[in-house]
């Protein structure tokens, strides 16, 4: 028996959120008294080498020239071999787009129960308990499993990034023996869309703008981006700002956008509609900047600045440049 974690790769290397899952998996495996196994899928074992430092008891490198690029059916076939090889009873992925489709498809093939986008994991009487956030972060529920194999995908930033270990895990190479005919997806092209920006899902700090930028939207979001730049933060936005066309949808935080959980969330000119609060209420520290002291955002905020973002953001950027030496 074992806990198996899929370490995902993307255009920039190992996906951070899948490493977070591996960190938590170590704890779960300890409680279950079984080893933790990391599985890495690719054309060679380079990524498996990179995954060796995060404390897995072993790293399975599923290697095939047909796995050079992510393709769902190939990835699932490879992980199924890994699950059999490791006799996995718990299988975990990050709840990324790929992680979610892989976890669901693999769970189906293994006759397993599946808890999508869990926010916490625990063990009770030798079985996994996955905590899910449902009703767009308005309710929590514990998911228990009746199947032998238990599968969950984990929302990014639910667990801290793991410390590296001094002893590297041994790597085991496995060939899933795939043929092109086994793979149903053709990947015709890939292009990066992040332009070097920090992604909302993985960001430790997020600076968001809302309707408060209305008097000059492009300058307002330039100020948001400038502060984000100094902090190495991602840029977020409220639905109001996205709907008004001030900034593209991919920046939207909230019920119909992205759920985020940074260490620090700075909301500038956001009143705090309930849909927005549902998407960022889990942030560790929340700073709100808004001229209206009665705005609902201040009910969630740890620190409140009653002021105009056009004054406060540049002052904050200047202060941070001075103090952080950036």
């Amino acid at each position: 028996m074992s806990v198996l974690v899929w370490i995902e790769q993307n255009q920039s290397g190992l996906v951070a959120s899948s490493c977070e899952v591996l960190g938590k998996a170590r704890e779960i495996a300890g409680q279950l008294g079984v080893p933790v196994v990391a599985a890495v899928v690719g054309a060679d074992s380079t990524a498996a080498e990179a995954a060796r430092v995060y404390g897995a008891d072993r790293v399975l490198a599923l290697v095939s020239p047909l796995l050079a690029q992510y393709r769902l059916s190939g990835c699932v076939a490879a992980l199924r071999l890994a699950a059999e090889h490791a006799a996995a009873t718990v299988i975990l992925t990050a709840a990324t787009i790929r992680g979610r489709e892989v976890a669901a498809t693999l769970a189906h093939q293994l006759g397993a129960g599946y808890a999508p986008e869990a926010v916490d994991l625990g063990v009770e009487t030798g079985r996994l308990v996955a905590v899910r956030s449902i009703y767009s972060n308005n309710l929590l529920v514990d998911v228990t499993f009746t199947s032998a194999v238990q599968v969950a995908s984990i929302r990014p930033r639910s667990f801290p990034f793991p410390a590296t270990c001094s002893t590297a895990s041994p790597v085991v190479l496995l060939d899933p023996g795939l043929a092109e005919a086994d793979l149903r997806e053709q990947l015709l092209a890939t292009r990066n869309t992040d332009n070097g920006e920090v992604s909302l899902a993985d960001a430790a700090i997020i600076v968001s703008g809302g309707r408060g930028v209305a008097q000059n939207p492009s300058q307002g979001f330039a100020l948001v981006a400038e502060l984000a730049g100094v902090l190495g933060a991602a840029v977020g936005a409220s639905r109001a700002a996205v709907d008004a066309g001030y900034i593209p949808y991919k920046h939207q935080v909230g019920q119909t956008g992205r759920t985020v959980k940074p260490d620090l969330y700075i909301a500038a000119g956001i009143s705090g509609a309930i849909q927005h609060l549902a998407g960022m209420g889990g942030s560790k520290r929340i700073v709100a900047i808004n001229p209206d002291k009665a705005a609902p955002i201040f009910e969630k905020a740890h620190y409140g600045v009653a002021g105009d973002l056009f004054q406060v953001l540049p002052a904050l950027t200047a202060e941070l440049k001075k103090r952080l030496g950036r």
């Binding site: 255009q11 787009i97 929590l140 998911v143 009746t146 199947s147 092209a189 890939t190 620190y303 009653a306």
Partner: protein
């Protein structure tokens, strides 16, 4: 070609925070119910593809008898037909139950393409598209933001993953979950609403689709509201924005969040 659109009846997003754990347990949701907003993009895309490829479309919902309203919404938008699968015999099922019943309904309709939204705003599982694809044995592409082309019994799409966009081609039949970026769902027209109100919507049961109830592989327990952390806002005072900024940075540095 026939396109099946999977739509779910969910609480109005503005009301989600008022849904009580007890109401979910009992299945007696008091909030106003609407078509799951994510599924509107799937319905719109089915209508657009219908025009592009002269395909027919059918909306399928698994739900209580009240879910006929979301099917009427889909019809009023312009989806060609609708079927309701009555969920009342499926109490205690999990997402695999949902997926297997929907897969059977898709098969019964003879569809060759399935479209659905990225997730429901209530269960948030985002797993139904993958589950339906798995039960049907069809390829899956999730997070689709554009349907580029359907030709030679293959479909080519663009999809968005974290930080990248991919162009993927799969053979038909296939299952797609679609993103908000794919289109702008239309509002039902007055004529569409009148037509939908007159449409007869067949109601089928899981048993009539030939789906045997499997035992659920997961169970829900301890449904609860997240703990509200006691929160009082610490106001950052100061004679100027610069003074406020300096105080705030002091506090954030002391807390090591920057």
């Amino acid at each position: 070609m026939k396109i099946a659109v999977l739509v779910k009846q969910t609480p109005d997003t503005a009301e989600l925070s008022r849904v009580a754990a007890e109401d979910v347990r009992s299945g007696q949701i008091k909030a106003p119910l609407v078509i799951n907003p994510w599924d509107e993009f799937a319905a719109e895309e089915a209508i657009l593809l219908g025009e592009r490829y002269s395909a027919t479309s059918v909306a399928i919902s698994l739900g209580l008898p009240s879910a006929v309203d979301v099917l009427k919404h889909a019809l009023a938008m312009g989806v060609g037909a609708a079927t309701l699968v009555d969920s009342r015999s499926l109490q205690g099922g999990d997402l695999w139950t949902t997926a297997s019943v929907l897969a059977a309904a898709v098969q019964a309709e003879g569809a060759d393409l399935v479209l659905t939204g990225r997730q429901s705003v209530d269960d948030n599982s985002g797993a139904v598209a993958a589950g339906v694809a798995a039960y049907l044995g069809w390829p899956l592409v999730s997070a689709v933001c554009q349907i580029v082309e359907i030709a030679d019994n293959q479909i080519t799409v663009e999809r968005l993953i974290e930080g990248a966009q991919e162009r993927i081609r799969v053979p038909l039949p296939a299952v797609l979950s679609v993103n908000k970026e794919i289109n702008e769902p239309r509002y039902p027209s007055f004529i569409g609403i009148r037509k939908a109100n007159k449409a007869s919507i067949p109601v089928v049961s899981a048993a009539s689709l030939g789906v045997a109830a499997e035992s659920a592989r997961t169970q829900w327990r301890n449904l609860r509201k997240p703990e509200e952390r006691p929160q009082s806002c610490h106001w950052i005072e100061g004679a100027s924005a610069a003074e406020q900024a300096a105080r705030l940075v002091d506090l954030l540095l002391a807390e090591k969040v920057i």
